[in-house]
């Protein structure tokens, strides 16, 4: 059983009250006890702050996906009539949201949400009656005491009666006591079986404790309690009868009264305080005899329970009476009114009194206070009685009741005939259109008309079908567009030919059931594309199969590559139900759109009107065939995918070709291109050419004559795309023994009713099969008979039409629980939804009901790249990962680059940018707003600090909805070494880190960065409910795959020659203080002074805070003789540098990764690097290290030492340094994101430190 539980009771203001705690505690316990049952918790996004705590509360109990969040376009509070239209629309939507999970039962623990609130919406059977709904009933006190609670407050009355109406539609009430359940039967006329008491429990913290002297003293000083006391707690409310309690206390025998205080524990308003104190005074109570504590904290409440002598609860009416249970759980003597639920909670008749009789109450109090034995007896009883009530017991009862509800409730079975024939629009080509689907439709119509009042919708000049003309109105598409609401049902027949082109747009406007005669539909979509509907194909490919498919569409030379992609996604998404003729189509859907994509598809065999069986002689006469001829026929239009050439070759190679009685006939139109010509040539060249025929297009009657005349059929296929093989069934229907190969849907044919060759058959196998059919007459006859029997049994038209009706009705029942149902219901709302409200409503509806089928999206944020590609190292990384992830294998995911700006909320799909990035046209697409749903993942690939900070709101909205958000972190340097960055960098970076640390996790470019980030979190991390994940990955070393730039300057050969003259040291990276250029330059000045002859090459653009260094470089005496500074060179030239240098110096004081290191190693260049942790990590120690000091001498010495080793070839080689490709990097990231590899570290805030 799958059950959806509405958790709004734990979100609204109720969360501060008992109802909120009840909801949370009960559902947590139900989750623990769920066993085989599936639980989905539904939350309201309007109460954003409550969602993380609730996710955390269930983190150990339920999978992440079990918590689902919906949006509401508010305000929707039922206390104001202004909200009515919005509220009613939201009620429809919340039910559609429940129903979208296809639950067996819906459970609403708190229906009355929320008085005076504006965001909560609960609903029972406003949209649907198909899913049984259970509701917790706390009490009906406002209804029973209308005068006191409702009539003085019209807004409250309006709201309450509105909610009550929903309550009355519930299929099952779970009451918190026998007494409240009884009220539902008495006041709302619920039947016995629809109400179950599941009771309630109190928090475990209520238990007996020994109070210390200090605590007694504190109660005395804080509350003025200085002697034994009688306690009451609860609300201050008319029905609570505190006045009665005070009067009864006043008439206690004097000795008892003087030795005890009366303590009323609860929040109290001034007005009530004055009233109660003056009542006490009138009753002769003075001084400290009555204590009104006001609000007390939880801990004090527990102490007070444990400190009191007697607990009295005199209420006239309760739903349950939780304080009674809490006091008993603390081991106290409790007496209470004999009203409503209190007797069952207390469980003891001699502890009850009549609440409206002050004397009786006083007598009972005196009895306990004056009789220690009785008091102890009550205390013992209380402890035992309290054990009966537990969350375990309540949850167990709830489960039992819900299971019983599920058992009792039968899904509405569709019984035929339907009570009334619904009006059905039948959209399909019909004869005389030259398509098999037209003939099929003509056969289906007369049978389907038993169930529906049919109008045919066609896009053709005339319909030549006697039945249609006699029975069904014929309308065109234009008429249908404006009259669609005259129909109860719509059915479309989709096939892979131009006869169906208009249906794509029509289905989008007017959804209906789709009969998918062909799964791929790529032929027709390609046809439309070639006719100028240019945006449909690439958009379909992107939506269904991602960027690789779009790239193929524009770049693949062989269209067959692109034919590998189905183009049916928009049809599947707009269809209200899908009917297919073979299981093969279902398998294809699972293959392309996920395991559950075809769960509710209906499989209905292709119907066949029984063919006349004794027409063979007449048919042969008509076709001028001799009785003795052995005629092999292949039916249907000719083409490469029909393998007609294989049949022709096999037949020519078989003995049949040599026998003058054997004939081969292709019944159908020849292929119009080279393929057809080749067939004709081959036939003309063969000696048997007079016995081989291609008939050309055969109308229905000619086609049937050939079927009747043939001795055997051969129907072959390759590259099947899920189309229905009607011709095979025709052969079988005429009792022909038929040879087929197991391609596509033909593989599903029963092996004993056809001669089934393997999908990839050999010529020999086909020749053998032909030969046997020819020679073995009994086999032939038996096979034909079995084929006929199979058709009669499974393809009976009447039976198939019944299945159609059942499938259509079932699909409409389901569709009416979702967007379709809302579309139907919304126009009828009273009051009507204002036009201006339609946008927000649509917005939430789209957010709540994602399209189906759909793959989860992997949203790659490349904002910085889209807005301006600065060509920095970070952007090189971004481009490399973007390419690998979008074009690589992200199986089952729709990878979509997205971007935002810092001045407008929301992200857009970066489709224009991506088209340019892939070098394909971009006129087919626009950058529409991103729509994200539960299960999607966002990955901030770029470093776009300002934008991320500005978009925090959007990302938070997504995260609430169940979108996990991650970021790539390149370094923390602006925060760890602010002195080497321009002013403001530190603050910007800090703010960015602060923002991203509120989401789900980060991907750091090295383990070192991950460690630093973890340390940063210890200091700056904000309080969070669930762990933050830290992963790391390394960069790729294959520059080729990071989309490198090209070009060499004219003086390149000269420069490169100079480098050959002496040992050359290379440094790569932007000129900025952190990189250690100044220190290195000074070191080389020392070396040159000492007469050591070396080159120093610096490759990098000028960065910040290096004006004096740059000046130094410009005017340096060695400039362009032994010192080279190359600014802004291409990646290609850089490669040349790597190839000509002898050693790479990495002198940076801090790096996130150090891309030049692996690029150098990739070129076999040895490394001389500063000894810092990240370089140890990246080089795996395969380098010569110098100490992390600022002295030029350190580097000068290191260079000399290295040169000495280099001369003896003893220097550390970088060859063994591990390096990987960008593809490996992308795989590392994807594996981590898709939960295949665990996090390197996790972090959660120290709850006490916050």
């Amino acid at each position: 059983m799958r059950i959806v539980i509405d958790m709004q009771g734990a979100q609204t203001a109720s969360r501060f009250r008992r109802i909120g705690r009840y909801t949370l505690a009960l559902v947590q316990e139900m989750a623990r006890q769920r066993g085989e049952h599936e639980l989905l918790l539904v939350l309201n996004a309007a109460y954003a702050d409550t969602i993380e705590p609730i996710r955390a509360a269930f983190a150990e109990l339920l999978p992440f996906d079990a918590i689902r969040v919906f949006d509401v376009a508010g305000p929707v509070g039922g206390h104001v009539a202004d909200n009515d239209a919005r509220r009613k629309a939201a009620e429809l939507m919340v039910e559609a949201f429940y129903a979208s999970f296809e639950p067996d039962v819906i459970f609403i623990p708190s229906l009355f949400e929320e008085w005076n609130g504006e965001g909560a919406v609960t609903s029972v059977h406003s949209l649907q009656n198909a899913i049984p709904t259970a509701v917790v009933l706390y009490d009906l006190i406002p209804l029973i005491h209308r005068q006191a609670y409702l009539e003085p407050n019209p807004a409250m009355e309006r709201w309450y009666l509105g909610k009550l109406d929903h309550l009355k539609r519930a299929d099952l009430l779970l009451s918190i006591s026998e007494s409240s359940g009884r009220e539902a039967k008495e006041h709302l006329n619920f039947p016995e079986r629809a109400v179950t008491n599941i009771s309630t429990a109190c928090d475990v913290q209520f238990h007996p404790i020994d109070l210390t002297e200090g605590e007694h003293a504190r109660l005395k000083s804080d509350y003025g309690i200085n002697r034994p006391f009688i306690m009451y707690t609860g609300g201050i409310d008319h029905r609570k009868n505190i006045e009665g309690l005070i009067r009864a206390f006043a008439i206690l025998p004097k000795p008892l009264r003087l030795t005890n205080q009366l303590v009323v524990v609860c929040a109290i308003q001034e007005l009530d305080r004055d009233r109660l104190l003056s009542l006490a005074k009138n009753q002769g109570l003075g001084g400290d005899e009555l204590v009104l504590t006001g609000y007390v904290p939880e801990d004090d409440l527990l102490a007070l329970y444990n400190a009191c002598t007697l607990f009295v609860f005199p209420s006239w009416h309760e739903g349950f009476g939780l304080p009674v249970l809490e006091a008993m759980a603390c081991g106290k003597a409790v007496i209470a009114a004999n009203s409503s639920s209190l007797p069952e909670v207390l469980g003891r008749a001699d502890a009850l009194f009549a609440p409206r009789d002050d004397a009786a109450m006083a007598t009972k109090m005196a009895e306990v206070l004056g009789n220690p034995a009785f008091r102890q007896e009550l205390e013992r009883h209380g402890l035992a009685q309290a054990k009966i009530f537990s969350w375990q017991a309540s949850a167990q009862r709830a489960w039992n009741a819900l299971e019983a509800l599920h058992r009792e409730y039968q899904k509405p079975a569709i019984t035929l005939p339907l009570p009334k024939r619904p009006r059905l629009a039948f959209v399909s080509p019909l004869p005389p259109e030259k398509t098999g689907i037209a003939d099929y439709a003509a056969e289906l119509l007369p049978e389907l008309a038993r169930h529906y009042e049919i109008t045919v919708i066609v896009a053709q000049e005339r319909v030549e079908d006697a039945w249609v003309q006699a029975n069904a109105p014929i309308r065109d598409v234009t008429w249908f567009r404006t009259h669609s609401n005259q129909f109860d049902r719509v059915i479309y027949h989709f096939g892979n030919s131009e006869f169906h082109a208009y249906m794509f747009g029509l289905l989008e406007e007017i959804p209906g059931i789709v009969v998918l005669h062909d799964f791929f539909l790529s032929g027709i979509v390609w046809y439309m594309d070639s006719k100028g509907v240019t945006d449909f194909l690439p958009n379909t490919l992107l939506a269904s199969h991602g960027w690789q498919a779009v790239k193929d569409r524009y770049t693949a030379s062989d269209t067959a590559v692109v034919w590998a992609w189905p183009c049916n996604l928009s049809v599947l998404r707009h269809a209200l139900g899908i009917i297919v003729h073979s299981d093969f189509s279902r398998r294809l859907a699972q293959q392309f759109y996920g395991a559950h994509a075809a769960d509710d598809w209906a499989l209905i065999p292709h119907l066949r009107q029984p063919a006349e069986q004794d027409g063979k002689a007449v048919a042969r006469q008509q076709l001028e065939l001799a009785e003795t001829d052995f005629v092999v026929c292949s039916f249907g239009g000719l083409g490469p995918t029909k393998l007609n050439h294989r049949l022709l070759d096999a037949w020519l190679a078989s003995p049949l070709a040599k026998d003058a009685n054997c004939r081969l006939v292709f019944v159908g139109e020849n292929h119009g291109g080279d393929y057809g010509q080749a067939l004709l040539r081959k036939i003309a060249q063969s000696p048997a050419k007079d016995r081989i025929t291609i008939t050309g297009w055969a109308d229905v009657s000619t086609y049937r004559t050939w079927l009747a005349a043939a001795d055997a059929g051969v129907q072959l296929r390759t590259l099947s795309r899920g189309e229905t093989s009607g011709t095979v069934l025709d052969c079988m229907n005429y009792g022909l023994p038929t040879i087929v190969n197991a391609n596509g849907s033909m593989a599903d044919l029963p092996a004993d009713a056809v001669c089934l060759l393997p999908d990839e058959f050999s010529d020999a196998q086909l020749i053998e099969a032909l030969h046997r059919l020819w020679q073995d007459a009994p086999h032939r006859t038996a096979l034909g008979a079995r084929a006929l029997a199979h058709i009669r049994k499974h393809h009976n038209p009447r039976h198939c039409a019944d299945q159609y009706a059942a499938a259509i009705e079932a699909a409409y029942i389901k569709a009416n629980l979702g967007v379709q149902g809302i579309t139907q219901a919304l126009p009828h709302l009273t009051p009507a939804l204002a036009p201006s409200e339609l946008f927000p409503f649509t917005h939430t509806l789209a957010a709540n009901c994602p399209p189906k089928p759909r793959k989860p999206q992997l949203l790659l944020d490349v904002s910085e790249l889209v807005n301006v590609d600065l060509g920095t190292g970070i952007q090189r990384v971004t481009r490399a990962l973007l390419r690998e992830i979008t074009l690589g294998e992200a199986n089952g995911w729709a990878v979509e680059p997205v971007y935002a700006t810092s001045d407008q909320p929301g992200f857009r799909y970066a489709r224009k940018f991506m088209s340019r990035f892939l070098n394909i046209p971009d006129d087919w697409t626009g950058d529409t707003p991103v729509e994200a749903w539960q299960g999607d993942i966002y990955l901030g690939l770029d470093l776009a600090q300002g934008i991320v900070v500005a978009q925090e709101g959007t990302l938070q909205t997504w995260r609430l909805r169940g979108v996990r958000c991650y970021f790539v972190v390149h370094d923390l340097l602006p925060v760890t070494m602010p002195e080497v960055f321009p002013e403001g960098s530190r603050e910007g970076h800090q703010r960015w880190l602060q923002t991203i640390s509120k989401f789900d996790g980060v991907f750091c470019v090295s383990r070192h960065v991950a460690d630093e980030f973890h340390e940063w979190l210890q200091v700056f991390g904000e309080k969070r409910e669930r762990p933050f994940h830290l992963h790391w990955f390394h960069h790729g070393a294959d520059i080729d795959n990071s989309a490198p730039s090209r070009g060499l300057p004219s003086d390149a050969p000269k420069t490169l020659a100079t480098l050959k003259a002496r040992p050359t040291f290379l440094m790569v990276g932007t000129i900025e203080p952190r990189k250690g250029y100044l220190q290195t330059l000074h070191a080389f000045d020392l070396l040159w002074q000492q007469g050591i002859d070396t080159n120093l090459v610096i490759v990098g653009k000028q960065g910040w805070m290096v004006e004096s260094l740059v000046e130094l470089l410009r005017v340096h005496p060695e400039r362009d003789s032994r010192l080279f500074w190359l600014e802004g060179i291409s990646d290609e030239y850089l490669e040349q540098m790597y190839a000509h240098a002898n050693c790479l110096i990495a002198a940076s004081h801090g790096e996130g990764f150090g891309l030049p290191l692996i690029e150098a190693a990739h070129h076999g260049l040895p490394l001389l690097v500063r000894d810092i942790p990240v370089f140890r990590e990246v080089t795996a120690n395969q380098a010569y290290f110098f100490a992390d000091s600022r002295e030029p001498e350190v580097i000068a010495t290191a260079v000399q030492d290295w040169l000495a080793l280099f001369e003896q070839n003893q220097h550390p080689s970088s060859a063994a340094m591990p390096h990987q490709t960008w593809n490996d990097s992308a795989t590392q990231v994807l594996n981590a994101i898709l939960n295949k590899s665990p996090a390197y570290k996790t972090w959660i805030s120290d709850q006490t430190a916050s």
Partner: protein, 405 residues
């Protein structure tokens, strides 16, 4: 003098010469160009065609254009030029057109002459008769121009009431047009770029006329041809001019502000040093010190906030920052209240009793202080999937409403 002659004379005097009018109408040509590529010899209907300048222009461009007008004096001018115009009521002319038959329906300086109900009918009918992607153009005096709105509009005694751009652009949106563009026209060209904007410019420099160009839904690829036109910003509105007026005044204050800035910059330095010290300290002292550092971070928050204000002040001006400050305080207040239901209900009941609730509520919603998610109010802000749903919902509502009627 016959009435009809009066009108032509009036128009000659106040709307300007034929050549002038024609040159002004050129502004619309770029909207029309794509239609010529979409439809061969597209049909256009001009309501209230007057002297026929527009008809002439359309015909030159290759449209099959015809017009209607009720004023024979004006029509005479059309006849003189051999332009196809007839004496017919605008609504009657539209009623006579078939569904999806016209590429352009236009009405220049007509809508301010007719009752609002008739205007609604006009837009409804135009939607029906336009082809997919077809354009509806309605031009009228622009009441955003204060001189026009307060005086010049009433020069014409047959004018009914000025129609604000938001109202006129909402009509087609409501009826189902794919998009609507407000095009402001005829402002002095040099005003676009001039720096020193005076009060007189604010009062009378705003585009004196405007039109709405509304496009009927069509194929995406076809609609795409018009994107650049619909995205282009045309004309001057009062908001723009007022802002520029403000900013030129604000410049006079800037000297004063930079003085403040220099003085306070020192405190920013001090802050940076304090933060640096905090970070360095925690590197040495591990977790315990970490807590201190985090506290220091929080302690310096007001300082950082102040720093941010300083940086934003010159950019956004005193008024905007002051408003933002008030908003920040209010938002904090509302958030505190929202999280305390008892306090909230208590406050609510007081406000109710004082009769202030509706006003406060409006203010609360208007100032967007509520913590709710930013709701999309525009079709273009909806994602593709949401747009499809929207189309289905509005279609269902429309069919339903039709039946109700």
């Amino acid at each position: 003098m016959r009435d009809s002659d009066f009108y032509r004379a009036f128009e000659d005097k106040h709307r300007g010469s034929r050549a002038l009018i024609k040159s002004r109408l050129m502004a619309y040509l770029s909207f029309l160009q794509p239609l010529l590529t979409l439809y061969p010899e597209p049909e256009a209907l001009d309501l209230g065609c007057g002297r026929g300048e527009w008809l002439e222009l359309l015909t030159e461009q290759g449209f099959a254009a015809r017009g209607v007008d009720l004023d024979d004096g004006m029509l005479a001018a059309c006849y003189e030029l051999g332009l196809p115009a007839t004496n017919q009521d605008a609504i009657a002319a539209l009623n006579a057109c078939a569904d999806d038959s016209l590429a352009v329906v236009s009405a220049f300086h007509v809508v301010e002459h007719i009752p609002f109900e008739t205007l609604r009918t006009l837009v409804h009918e135009a939607f029906r008769v336009l082809k997919p992607g077809g354009l509806l153009i309605l031009e009228t005096p622009n009441p955003e121009n204060l001189t026009v709105g307060a005086t010049n509009f009433y020069l014409d005694p047959t004018h009914q009431r000025p129609i604000p751009p938001l109202l006129l652009s909402y009509l087609p949106e409501y009826v189902g047009f794919y998009r609507t563009k407000i095009v402001r026209l005829q402002e002095p060209e040099e005003l676009q770029t001039r720096r020193d904007i005076g009060l007189l410019d604010v009062l009378s420099g705003v585009s004196p006329d405007y039109s709405i160009v509304a496009q009927k839904p069509g194929r995406k690829s076809a609609l795409g041809l018009f994107d650049s036109e619909f995205e282009r910003n045309i004309g001057l509105d009062h908001y723009n001019l007022a802002i520029r007026f403000d900013s030129s005044i604000a410049q006079r204050f800037s000297a004063l502000e930079s003085l403040c800035h220099a003085a306070l910059a020192k405190s920013v330095d001090a802050e940076a040093k304090a933060i640096d010290a905090g970070v360095k300290a925690d590197q040495f002292h591990g977790q315990l010190m970490g807590v201190y550092a985090s506290r220091s971070w929080r302690l310096t928050k007001p300082l950082r906030w102040f720093n941010l204000q300083l940086r934003r002040l010159p950019n956004e001006g005193f008024k905007a920052r002051f408003k933002a400050l008030i908003k920040k305080i209010l938002r904090r207040m509302f958030s505190v209240i929202n999280n305390r239901p008892r306090l909230k209900n208590w406050l609510k009941s007081i406000v109710y009793r004082l009769g202030l609730y509706p006003r406060l509520r409006n203010f609360y919603i208007k100032t967007n202080l509520s913590p709710k998610i930013d709701q999309s109010k525009q079709l273009s802000n909806l994602g593709q999937y949401a747009q499809q749903i929207h189309a289905r919902l509005s279609n269902a509502m429309m069919q339903h409403n039709k039946e109700e009627r």
